[in-house]
Symmetry: C2
Subunit: 267 residues, 2 copies
Amino acid sequence: MPRLIPIDDPGDPRLADYRDLRDVQLRQHFEVEHGVFLAEGAKVVRRAVTAGFEPRSFLMAPRWLDDLDDVLEPSGAPVYVLSEALVEQVTGFHVHRGALASLVRRPLPSVDEVLDGARSVLVVEDVVDHTNIGAIFRSGAALGFDAVLLSPRCADPLYRRSVKVGMGAVFTMPWTRLTDWYDALPSLSARGFTTVALTLAPDATPIEEAVAGVDRLALVLGSEGPGISDRWQQAADRRAIIPMAPEIDSLNVAAATAVACYVSTRR
Amino acid sequence: MPRLIPIDDPGDPRLADYRDLRDVQLRQHFEVEHGVFLAEGAKVVRRAVTAGFEPRSFLMAPRWLDDLDDVLEPSGAPVYVLSEALVEQVTGFHVHRGALASLVRRPLPSVDEVLDGARSVLVVEDVVDHTNIGAIFRSGAALGFDAVLLSPRCADPLYRRSVKVGMGAVFTMPWTRLTDWYDALPSLSARGFTTVALTLAPDATPIEEAVAGVDRLALVLGSEGPGISDRWQQAADRRAIIPMAPEIDSLNVAAATAVACYVSTRR
């Protein structure tokens, strides 16, 4: 049997991991300091546990228990069972897919570990929106990329919203955070990768040409507003553009990532 | 001079178009019944007016006035000037890019008008998320599609969030809503379009093959969860899939749209 613990007091201290989920800043502090992250929705919770992340606890309304029985039973972590109204009161929002899990963060691997055996890598500079980070992981995983490297300022891919949008791709895709922003691209070139920066510069090469024949590829994506920094544009081996209709200024970074990954995988 | 009207009472009835922007249901009723929609952010406001939509009024904090002077001056519509704190109080959220406009909705064109001269058309079935609808318009416009047809249940592309995510692509891309869901695809085939439904069915043709050599193309996209309905899958001339990595279940509909548009435009 799973360790079911019915709770009817929203102030119960055992629910600390699940409070104030709409307050991004507060959550970021809490999660970093306690070394946890949240998975939301039965499918994503199952993927986190299956991928080997250790659950601290689960929280759900009674009707989600059956669906997750195969996950709850073997884990041994406490399962806090609350009415749906109480779930909403504790978390601060309506949890559509009913189940939450709090899981233990793991130390990030080194860049070398992440790159080991990888042929196609996404390198993401300063994408600060959790939705976009999640979408980048999901598209990268679906379209044949092997790993993700994040610049120091990128949003947290284990933040609840990133995990949800990414449908848990962050659990299985090897990734880490770069510590040296300035020399990140030359350091990849030195490891045998061709770094191709996606840009809107009109003199850039169309993406299909830019990746043609490249063996180990590091596809570099920039932030939502200004795009890739001057430093990274200059440090990249090649600059590539997705050809667009006249008078259209850009694609959303998640859409651009999907197109670039699709094209790159067929290089 | 623009018609500047300073307001310091958040209850002022002239602000009715801008109230309770976080309440989606309430806004949907209000906008339909009053025949208005909102544009948010200086860039998107400018695009709406440039595309010929008639402003009822503008609302902004003082520091946005200069930036939009070229739009405000010729329009003649009242410009309500509020402190940033008051803007937040009226709208119910922090308006990052400071400027809002309320504009008059226009009657939708007929399907024939929208298809006139179009070679590549997106046909969207039951995508109910405003963010996804906005992303589909933006990617379609950027990647060479000429028009969009929405099924009766799709989310409103003129809802504030759709407009914002789409960066105003909905203002220039011809679009309308289908009234006959059941025979929508046969009716497109009868007009000389090849309807290609994007699906996850493993026996579907890879998208590059499915669109190869097609002259007038109607690319059919399905809803976030279940995908394209059985009726539409059966009614489509062809079924296409974006090849994905093993064990990955799907791309987000916006990412899939971007890839499919990119590939289709190169057919």
